[in-house]
Symmetry: C2
Subunit: 340 residues, 2 copies
DNA sequence: ATGAAAGCGCTAACAG
DNA sequence: CTGTTAGCGCTTTCAT
């Protein structure tokens, strides 16, 4: 592999001039610039990433802090990872994957290795030890999601308020008055998992504002739990006709429970899956009306915000909220006229 | 951040002694070793990854060459990525994600940056330009999957022969004599996508060996295509009672087509989903009997083989084949006695 | 507009 | 067993 010295020699200039030409760090006469680029071309020169990083103190590598598969991973995460990787590459950065439990002590070590310039944190919890550590070390980071006190921090997140509102509106406009909400588990809620907490809260507000009847329920992320939870919910509230579910893994159980009652979706129950991808929505019969998260956008935007923060001289910490998009499929329909 | 110089001063030894102590590259008296480690502890010293990489010419970073979402990504890929990342970290390596189309010219640039020691290539095609490039540059790599001529290269792959055999056996033992196989698309086959080609071939061999009747069909990776393909297959071969499907995305369409005929799974048709994860298998009604790929093992093993290759002095290029595991769920049952 | 030279923090000869 | 020193390939002052 040729180095800068080789290029400099061949172009008949000083080593530093090559560097400046490459980085545009200072004015170079058009003529020498040409010579240098020609020399690079001829030699097949490519700057050495490590050397550049060591000298400049900027590795141009960022880390994606990825949750370990506690709650099981979805397609969501995958799309996220790939879009983040692509966004990073588009900006000339590399993305390394750090898959760690939120309370891992390893994070500190990793950060202190000086390998990465900044960190993109996925699945931020309301009280997240990773965020505390990053703040303590004053290490640059952006979040996907938010923690309890996110002022002065950079993040992108789903606009859960708007998303929840869209779901409630959709059912309300179809004439549903009695609406159930099946959330993630109570444990997730207690642990302060953002979406769980935010949607739970907003659901009640939206229901109240629209003068509907609403009832919420937690549910573990499993088919069996979905089955149980739905049956319990309908035993307690037989008049429910609309259901908002933010729990992809519970959905097959719910569908099964509906069908075992001899009911059908959407004739007897309308169902909206919150923060759920098209891929999953099309696995079921009927296909699911969803509010689909703009995953790729979130991933790319998260990376952009982080890099912006790394390269900006001013200490502005950008934030962004993106709503999910309503995609109407087969699982929602007009509410029945007659009460059951 | 403290550096080695600081540690050396504090421990009262030479800079290099610290280095040797850290890397175990040469014998150090127990006493000085203690002093050095104490000093590191007190200062909170962590070796600088870039500096180490530059000096040693080994970055301890590997890249995962990730396919761009052409055919759409599955859960499979995700689990793969996370297990690879974890395996790498366990061995003291970092994993960067390079998400590129197989024919991208960018790969060459990335490799020449000198950032990574080796590459793990996912979704290898039978004729894969990435592999050709890696060979040309003599760049260390391992593959997930194999290309046409894989001798002398390091890879891990699913044992498709064994997997296909298991599927055929399973149906045969249930008394099915007329067995259909729904593959990925013809395009995937033509493009030399490994699983598509290998299973197609092995299916015929296994059917012949067991003296059964078999019929294969290609199918695009979509619900609609699954629906069409199934109907066509049953029009042409009405006696089919067992179906092997290696196309997760087509399955909902198949299930729908079965139900529209007034048939049921598994009473009228038994169905096995090949190389399909539990997560998907439990989304449907009935749940799917599958041959589940050992994804996490493949990811971890792939990383291990690559690192082994990087660190071994001898030029052995290890290979491994892992079979899928048969998990019987609700979609398979005894063949009907009577012909339809 | 260009050069010369001093590091960045570490590894690995070379020399005792 | 330990110390000295020359790089690794680049960025970035400081000169001119």
């Amino acid at each position: 592999m040729p180095t800068m010295v080789d290029v400099a020699k061949r172009a008949g200039v000083a080593l530093s001039t090559v560097s400046y030409a490459l980085n545009g760090t200072r004015p170079i006469s058009e003529e020498t610039r040409q010579r240098i680029y020609a020399a690079m071309e001829e030699l097949g020169y490519k700057p050495h990433a490590l050397a550049r990083g060591l000298a400049s103190k900027r590795s141009k590598i960022i880390a994606l802090l990825f949750p370990t598969p506690e709650r099981g991973l979805g397609l969501t995460e995958l799309e996220f990872v790939t879009s983040a990787a692509e966004a990073a590459r588009n900006k000339g950065y590399h993305l390394v994957l750090w898959s760690l439990p939120t309370d891992s002590s390893e994070l500190r070590q990793l950060l202190q290795q000086g390998l990465v310039d900044g960190v993109l944190v996925m699945e931020v919890h309301l009280n997240d030890p990773r965020i505390e550590l990053l703040r303590e070390l004053e290490f640059p980071f952006s979040m996907i999601g938010r923690c309890a006190e996110s002022t002065g921090m950079s993040y992108v997140d789903i606009d859960f308020d708007r998303t929840t509102q869209l779901a409630v509106n959709c059912l309300a406009e179809l004439g549903h008055r009695q609406i159930g909400f099946i959330n993630h588990s109570h444990e997730a809620f207690e642990a302060g998992y953002g979406p769980t907490v935010r949607v739970a809260q907003r659901f009640n507000e939206a229901i109240a504002a629209a003068q509907l009847h609403g009832v919420s329920s937690f549910c573990h992320d499993s088919v069996a739990a979905g089955y149980e939870t739905f049956n319990q919910l309908l035993t307690d509230h037989p008049a429910l006709s609309g259901l908002i579910v933010m729990n992809e893994r519970a959905i097959p159980g719910i569908i099964q429970a509906v069908s075992e009652r001899g009911w059908s979706i959407p004739d007897d129950i309308s169902l909206i899956s919150l923060v759920s991808s098209a891929r999953v929505a099309e696995m079921t019969l009927p296909t699911l009306t969803t509010l689909e998260p703009p995953i790729a956008e979130l991933g790319a935007l998260g990376v952009d915000l982080l890099i912006q923060q790394l390269e900006a001289q001013d200490r502005e910490l950008p934030q962004a909220l993106l709503p999910c998009q309503l995609v109407v499929r087969g699982s929602t329909g007009q509410a029945r006229r007659t009460e059951r």
